[in-house]
Symmetry: D2
Subunit: 256 residues, 4 copies
């Protein structure tokens, strides 16, 4: 059939496998979200409901260790996940922001970065959380100066130019009576979706059959294979991921 004459063009598709054995970070960034925030009148410096919508979209992604997904074809994995995130964001908009009509289709870009070892993965997440902290502290003081302090945005930028972290804490505290550390963790730490290992309730592990109910001492306790296999749920956290505690408690995350 005529189709076959043209099918040779398929051969121009180049393979793009991700290197096996590496940890993969898939990063998604909003496109022109400053404009989106303005257009939809998001609360400053943080709109809790808009952030919850982001968390929801992230939760819809397949959070799996399955490193053989789509045969590790980079374009396929990257676009499928970015598309699903986008779709969920638009689909769920009205659940989180029922009073605001979405005015135009928002979009995101994505990229995949490969990291050879656990150290780099930890440092990647530390980098993101440190960035979140720096940006949120700046934005928090900036909008306090503007919204509560009556400064223009130009003035507020000038006020903050060159200030160190302790000065920003001090401005917040002395002028606006706000203790930065008491602000919601979601704003200060960001959102972390993590697979949590479900420790089965001990009482469910031992399902005594009739003999054991009868106290028969020669029957060994048995744990069914399904129950001993680790089980996971995905949880939303807003805690510290720079220190060791988060990682020490979840050794399976970086297990190779």
């Amino acid at each position: 059939m005529a189709g076959s004459r043209y099918e040779y063009v398929k051969k121009f598709e180049l393979p793009d496998p991700l290197l096996m054995g590496t940890f993969l970070v898939l990063r998604i960034d909003g496109h022109a979200f400053h404009k989106l925030s303005e257009a939809h009148d998001f609360a400053k410096p943080n709109d809790e409901r808009a952030l919850q919508l982001m968390d929801h979209a992230a939760r819809d992604l397949p959070l799996s260790k399955c490193t053989t997904l789509y045969n590790r074809r980079q374009s396929k994995i990257l676009t499928t996940v970015t598309s699903l995130f986008t779709s969920s964001y638009v689909f769920n908009w009205s659940k989180y922001l029922p009073d605001k009509e979405l005015k135009y289709p928002p979009s995101f870009d994505g990229r995949i970065v490969m990291y050879p070892s656990a150290k780099e993965i930890r440092d990647y997440f530390a980098w993101r959380q440190a960035d979140t902290h720096i940006n949120n502290m700046y934005n928090t003081v900036f909008w306090a100066l503007v919204l509560q302090g009556g400064e223009s945005t130009t003035q507020a930028h000038a006020t903050l130019r060159g200030t160190v972290s302790s000065t920003k804490h001090e401005i917040l505290h002395s002028r606006f009576g706000t203790n930065y550390n008491n602000l919601p963790a979601r704003y200060r730490k960001g959102s972390i979706l993590v697979r949590e290992q479900v420790v089965p309730d001990a009482s469910t592990l031992l399902a005594p059959g009739p003999e054991r109910a009868a106290g028969s001492p020669d029957v060994e306790n048995s744990i069914s294979p399904e129950l001993t296999k680790a089980q996971f749920t995905v949880e939303l956290l807003h805690g510290d991921i720079i220190g060791d505690e988060f990682w020490d408690q979840r050794p399976y995350l970086l297990a190779e």
Copy 2:
């Protein structure tokens, strides 16, 4: 600041520039659209409104020759465009299918293929249209057998196994009184969004100033640069793109 200790992880991002001077095809495919069609009860074999939604989403994409977009970074271009298509699809769903609630977020995958020459680009589009034809003819007869002919889907597949094009035409004609060639071009040819050159109306080109109105012979006719620069609109077509006519009429499409 603490951020900088971790910033080295940015260096693991690998460059992924697209080769300059090539024609780029960005192909977007629906993920599990068979299931989506079932879940939303799309008309068989073609749901016109669902196809119009696709056309709308495609029209929202930047259709530009601008080959320096995002510095030709593959991941950036690919994910931005795939995300925008997805977003527009979900955003506009209710305009085209107001009586059907979207039940879950649909997703798409994307890929970019580079073609060195105009010949391959033409063959790429010829391949897609030939494929559209083959699939649509099969689906048209198949669903006629099922919906009008009362065959089971298993029977219908068996009826069609090994049949050539002329046999399918004949089945449609003799058993269902349908002339395939009279079916909507949208189904038979697919949708083509193309930049059309706007030929400015001659009467608008010469905007005579007062002197010229006075017939002053020494004033040369002048055409303003903006008007002589080619202007484009994006049009939706459902015609043949395998033959020469489409391309001959639009030499600017493949101009290098």
Copy 3:
């Protein structure tokens, strides 16, 4: 066998196909050839015998259009050709420089660049020849100033700083009685190895068998397929490849 437990490591080899349909340039550069020239006392500014050795090594490479070589695997093609060039250079050293013992193993690096169209390939070679011209003119005047004019190398660089082409011509002519354009084309244009089409001598095309010798009228003249197929030799030229003539005379070079 034990080997199989470890064979999974083969899967870490990533595919690296070159894009089909592109023109490939494989560029080889000498590593630290300034030092090699010093160590072996090459003539300044050009050592004809050392250049002939380069030409010989290039001639040993497979000069074929065969774009399916090694399945277009980049590393395989690139290293095989670079290795063969290196090997031939060392192997043939003593033929061209019998009075100079090669003191250590010289090395080269290679790279492959893909060009989508004929225009870029022509411009690539134009770039290389323009570069050859600029460098050779500079070096020719520089070494005339040093070797014949008695300037130190520092003085000679200072003399030439900021001079345009015509000034360099003039220095050569007025101070050293040298007309640059009369210098060997090899130095001014570089070396071009090109496949030349052999036009078979008409007298060899008709090889009459016994019947035809006997004048048998019913035997048609036949041209053997091998003779009509274009035949090629590889020739060494030192002419202009920036203008059209070289390319117009060899349309098969850029035929797609």
Copy 4:
């Protein structure tokens, strides 16, 4: 100058950085070495002098951990190293095989494979040594059957078809009085060039100056930084690299 009009073609060179933080294997294979062995009448199944020449060429390579070599540009590193190996092989041929004239330029191909972790690197080398063992055992028995046993090569292949390791040992032992394990380790294990840490002689560490010779108690013993910095030599081994011992003794090899 004219050169600049064409210089845009440089932009078609695509970046090809190797992923940071990975272990790099650079593998070099001889091209058509079966033919080279025949043409130069190499001893069967192993030609010790030809193997020594290989070892020499490998020793000429830069064996460094320096992961920033050439900015990790794959083509540059790969071709430079492959070229240097080739060059050394040809350059040193006559030192190892003074009675055999090299008849034509031998060539090699190269590739780079990235491994994310130490485990994979160990398995890579285990794979190569297991392969060496399998091939050498086969070749040893094969050539014993042919050269000592009078079988044709066809017969010898047939004799060996499907035999396991123990059978091959037995054939060697019973028919040819050869204990495979007594053959030279170079043939059974291959050649390993490894950086060995030089443990400085304790007596050289404390180089007392005049004051200390005088016993001045307030002068602290000082160890010069150069001496305490680990120092390395490159050694040629033919031992086991599949087990732990080799790696346990050289923890610096896989240190990240």
